[in-house]
């Protein structure tokens, strides 16, 4: 039996790095300290049905083929397309992302990550105002006020609160939960809001209004605030703003409640502006609650390799970036791509119906360990190893701290990185021959 300690969990952006995993005869037999999400993902590698063999759709049915056939077919699709969408790459390693970017560049494709339907607007907000952030340990050690805005860590990041935020004990916060106030802003009561000292129920889609009102309090312009903003009485807004102003160190964690609601990236932008004002009085930072464990890593790698963090269009050989035009959902909604390669993500399940309809129409290659909604629409399916369980690689935590994912068990499946490397070679061969 092998006991592997300090395992980094390949599920969410919290990237907990303290798991202990026991392996017997190449089977995972015990996982310690993981939450339900991480546990199911790691345990699932040996339990859930996998895509066992590469497949190609023939007469409407996926039939098993050799790996070489699948690569050849996939490369053929890529080499002969005018506008390919390469999408996903969030539940995989930075090393695989790097290869995927190279493939996109060489095939004149457009490449986007799952940030498209997650924290894409957060990235747009950084373009507008920057990112006043800190590492999670600053929150653990210093924060006497934690605000969860439009996020629900009890469900989406279950160990976040014990490791980094609500309950974490640090140097200046030895009393843990008692050392800090917790505020939650959301449109409905959640399992997170139930744990808060202060719950503010904002009208759906009105976060931008509320954030502006808080800024007006911070900047001593209270007189411009009407009796109620975003469904919240002025007194309560002043109370929330005062909490922020009087805290010694506060952190606003924000989630999809801000990025997906009505004013999209302007919510993150407004949080940033709020901190720009607030830091004159008290230390305050913001951290996005990133979903996929390495969606942050995609952004990092893409940014240093191309200059842009996602939604990069190599159609004209130069890197071009413009979410709203070059985002995965944008081009699918407009039905303007003629093929797609999807890896380590499931747009079939997570994209809006119009976008899925376009995906169903075009030749599509899927690289994934598991059968999912996207598989139902795929024309070429290539099974992959599970990063962080069957293969190693780099991932970035939600606060952009990079960690090395471990290999826990052996596998016969190829890694995403190897598959894309093979694809690049095959595409070059086809293009060179043509």
């Amino acid at each position: 039996m092998k006991v592997i300690t300090d395992v980094v969990c390949p599920f969410c952006g919290s990237l907990c790095d303290d798991l202990t995993v026991k392996v017997e005869d190449n089977v995972i037999t015990d996982i310690q300290r993981a939450c339900i999400l991480g546990h199911n993902k790691i345990a699932g590698v040996c339990l859930h049905e996998r895509i066992e063999s590469p497949m190609i759709r023939k007469d409407g049915e996926l039939v098993e083929v050799t790996y070489e056939e699948a690569i050849e077919k996939a490369a053929d699709i890529l080499a002969n397309s005018k506008r390919t969408l390469s999408y996903g790459w969030a539940s995989t390693s930075c090393e695989a992302v790097s290869k995927a970017i190279q493939l996109a560049e060489e095939t004149g494709s457009l490449i986007d990550s799952t940030a498209n339907v997650c924290h894409g607007p957060t990235v747009l907000a950084v373009h507008e105002k920057g990112s006043p952030a800190a590492s999670l340990g600053q929150v653990k050690n210093r924060a006497d006020l934690v605000v969860f805005w439009g996020c629900n860590p009890v469900h989406a990041h279950p160990r976040h609160m014990s490791r980094y935020s609500t309950y974490a004990r640090g140097f200046f916060t030895k009393k843990g939960r008692k050392a800090r106030n917790i505020a939650v802003v959301d449109v409905r009561e959640t399992d997170t809001s139930k744990l808060a000292d202060k719950y503010v129920q904002v009208d759906p889609g009105c976060d931008y209004m509320l954030l502006n009102a808080i800024r007006s309090v911070i900047n001593e312009n209270e007189d411009v605030i009407p009796a109620q903003v975003a469904g919240i009485p002025k007194e309560e807004i002043i109370e929330l703003a005062t909490m922020l102003k009087e805290a010694r160190f506060s952190c606003i964690f924000y989630g999809m409640g801000t990025t997906q609601s009505r004013s999209k990236y302007k919510n993150g932008d407004a949080v940033s502006s709020l901190l720009y004002d607030l830091n004159q009085y008290s230390k305050s930072v913001m951290i996005p609650m990133r979903g996929h464990y390495n969606v942050t890593g995609f952004g990092q790698v893409a940014n240093w390799e191309t200059g842009y963090p996602n939604a990069i269009d190599f159609n004209r050989r130069l890197a071009y970036y413009n979410p709203g035009e070059t985002g995965a959902s944008d081009v699918l909604l407009r039905g303007e791509v003629d093929s797609a390669i999807i890896a380590a993500a499931d747009p079939g399940a997570h994209f809006a119906q119009e976008a899925v309809r376009c995906l169903a129409k075009v030749p599509m290659i899927q690289i994934d360990p598991y059968h999912n909604a996207t598989t139902e629409l795929a024309d070429v399916v290539i099974p992959a190893a599970v990063v962080g369980v069957e293969t190693e690689g780099t991932a970035y935590r939600m606060d952009s701290i990079p960690l090395r994912m471990k290999k826990l068990i052996d596998t016969t499946f190829k890694s995403d990185e190897e598959i894309v490397t093979d694809l690049i070679e095959k595409v070059r061969e086809i293009k060179g021959g043509a």
Partner: protein, 126 residues
Amino acid sequence: MKLEANLITGRTAYQGSYLEYKTSPRYFEECAYCELNPEDLSQLGVSEGECLKVSNEHGEVIVRAKMNSGNPRGLAFIPMGPWANAIVDPDTRGCGMPGFKGVPSQIEKSDKEPLDLKSLMRTYCQ
């Protein structure tokens, strides 16, 4: 009887735990439902486990009813996933992000059953 509701979608721990096992019946159970305030549900004459049709200009979907007293009245929640996405607003509003939250929708009782994952995906291939 139709309820005018504001639809939001989002994560749950249970939907998340079956994220890598979408072919399992548990994933279906954890995604193909709609949470409403108890008063909204009783107004519709629907009890938990019965089926709802949620529709709007983008489409319609059948899901099971679930009660959540934390939802304000008129707020409907469906976990992120293929069922929710059948009826979200696909427009990316110039910034890449479809409308996963705040979609005006109508909700009514239905005697149809929700489609399973494969059947639902098949509707896109026609």
